[in-house]
């Protein structure tokens, strides 16, 4: 049979960010795939060495437009460990609150993208409509919809009044109702299941071999979540479930993400209920003692790892970022093998790629 090479990207309606795939197609099935990265490489890690720790927070926030807060949280966490400062409890709660809101926002955005790629425009519209509620909350808390700029080394920059806390709880109740409707759709809707079940399947063995993280790993039966496995405050005092499925296909990933969204709403509510009084930040030195640290956080797409080395000045000697997309991307060639051409969009969406994160 004749082989045809189908290029997808770097500019393609299917992709939201620039990445290039070359699919070798025989008939209707993909037999081989090659991937090319680096179209949005901005040299952020190198730029970090030129800027002070204070400036780097804002630079690292721009690695990703979706999980921007997680990046600054991981960086600040590492720098605070080097400085040896203990953060006020209220600061930790407020930081984690924004992390969870970001997870809700990320998963709803992803559901919209998946729905759009499989031609289910209704869910795309509804998911993004619900996401707007979270964006409004985050804008109200931080002053920015995408770049929140709330983290500083030594705490956070915003505080929550009692009135605002009550309003927030009410908004979260409404949000949970809407998320549950979307969850019902994922669980029961026939067309969505027809497009996503048994597509892009990854076995537990493959997940372990590729070191896959986040919801993609949890959808294949790997029960791993940094918030539970390596609990830092405030997560050590909160109760939550880590949804795990065994199927390993795109449908399981969709379900895991939607169940996580519901859990995140619960976590936000718990944090608001238990929010301790006190200051939201503590003063720290601009110069960081020499040393190195590895900081890890559970981002919406999986585990983010930061390596920071300090030489005792006010600028880091090295910052290395390992984003979850980088590990999850490696699974794509095996996922795309023998996939029907019409399912390529589903497979690519299922991983929740963030190319800006991977390229940095």
């Amino acid at each position: 049979m004749t082989k045809i090479i189908v290029p997808i990207g770097p500019q393609h309606p299917l992709l939201k960010e620039p990445v290039s795939f070359q699919l070798t197609v025989e008939g209707e099935h993909v037999t081989e795939s090659a991937m090319r990265l680096g179209y949005v490489h901005r040299g952020i890690e190198r730029l970090c060495q030129e800027r002070t720790y204070v400036q780097n927070i804002h630079l690292l926030e721009r690695i990703c437009g979706i999980c921007s807060h997680v990046h600054t949280t991981t960086f600040c966490q590492g720098v605070e460990a080097l400085l040896g400062v203990k953060l006020p409890s209220r600061a930790l709660y407020l930081r984690a609150l924004l992390c969870e809101l970001e997870r809700i926002h990320s998963h709803l955005l992803w559901l919209g993208v998946l729905a759009l790629n499989i031609g289910f425009d209704t869910i795309f519209m509804y998911a993004w409509h619900d996401r707007e509620v979270v964006l409004d909350i985050m804008e109200d808390l931080s002053g920015g919809r995408v770049s929140h700029a709330v983290n500083i080394v030594g705490g956070v920059r915003f505080d929550l009044t009692d009135d605002r806390r009550v309003t927030l709880l009410r908004q979260l109740n409404g949000l949970e109702e809407q998320v549950r409707i979307l969850l019902g759709v994922v669980e029961h809707e026939q067309t969505l299941q027809a497009r996503t079940r048994n597509v892009g399947r990854l076995s537990l063995e493959q997940i372990r071999r590729y070191c896959v993280v986040g919801p993609v790993a949890r959808a294949s039966g790997l029960d791993v979540d940094l918030r539970r496995d390596m609990p830092r405050p405030p997560y050590d005092g909160l109760t939550f479930q880590v949804p795990v499925r065994q199927e390993g296909d795109v449908w399981a990933r969709t379900l895991v993400r939607m169940l996580e969204t519901v859990e995140s709403v619960h976590l936000c509510r718990q944090m608001l209920d238990l929010l301790p009084p006190g200051p939201v930040s503590t003063r720290v030195s601009r110069r960081v003692p020499a040393g190195e640290v590895v900081s890890r956080t559970e981002a919406p797409r999986g585990e983010v790892v930061y390596y920071i080395r300090s030489d005792g000045s006010d600028k880091p000697a090295r910052v290395k970022v390992r984003t979850p997309t980088l590990t999850n991307l490696i699974t794509l060639p095996s996922q795309l093998e023998n996939v029907n051409m019409a399912d390529v969009s589903v497979v690519l969406s299922g991983v929740d790629l963030c190319i800006a994160c991977a390229d940095r």
Binding site: V54, N56, H129, D140, G143, S147, Q178, I181, Q190
Partner: protein, 131 residues
């Protein structure tokens, strides 16, 4: 057919909610935009409070602030909104509460040089012309 109908039922509450909410479109730019109270917009300075310490310039991650110093008390603080990341670091760094981010934003322009503004001008005024 039965399966399809059951699928639709799960969406009905959402359809009802959206119909009840009505249109959400804002008539911008023909009506003022709805901005939150804490929205981080253009940088403004209370010139009376500014001491020209340049802490804001030092911490600005986007190099949007510039201090032209001519003497100990004579300086000019220049703001480049085209470079600004609207992160609010200047507001945080200022020890005198002089600089803050306002609730307004920069409109689009075809010429970025027209955006640059002098926020504080403490240069000596030029001597009067001889008559």
């Amino acid at each position: 057919m039965g399966f399809s109908l059951r699928s639709i039922v799960y969406l009905l509450p959402q359809v009802w909610r959206v119909l009840r909410a009505g249109p959400l479109t804002v008539q911008f730019p023909f009506a003022p935009p709805e901005l939150q109270e804490g929205y981080r917009g253009q940088v403004v300075v209370d010139a009376a409070r500014c001491r020209g310490c340049s802490l804001c310039v030092r911490d600005c991650p986007a190099f949007a602030l510039e201090l032209e110093r001519e003497g100990r008390e004579e300086y000019r603080l220049i703001y480049h909104p085209d470079r600004c990341a609207y992160c609010g670091q200047c507001e945080l760094s200022c020890q005198f509460g002089a600089i803050r981010l306002s609730n307004t934003f920069t409109r689009a322009t075809a010429d970025r040089d027209t955006l640059t503004r002098v926020l504080v001008d403490r240069r000596p005024s030029p001597p009067p012309l001889d008559e």
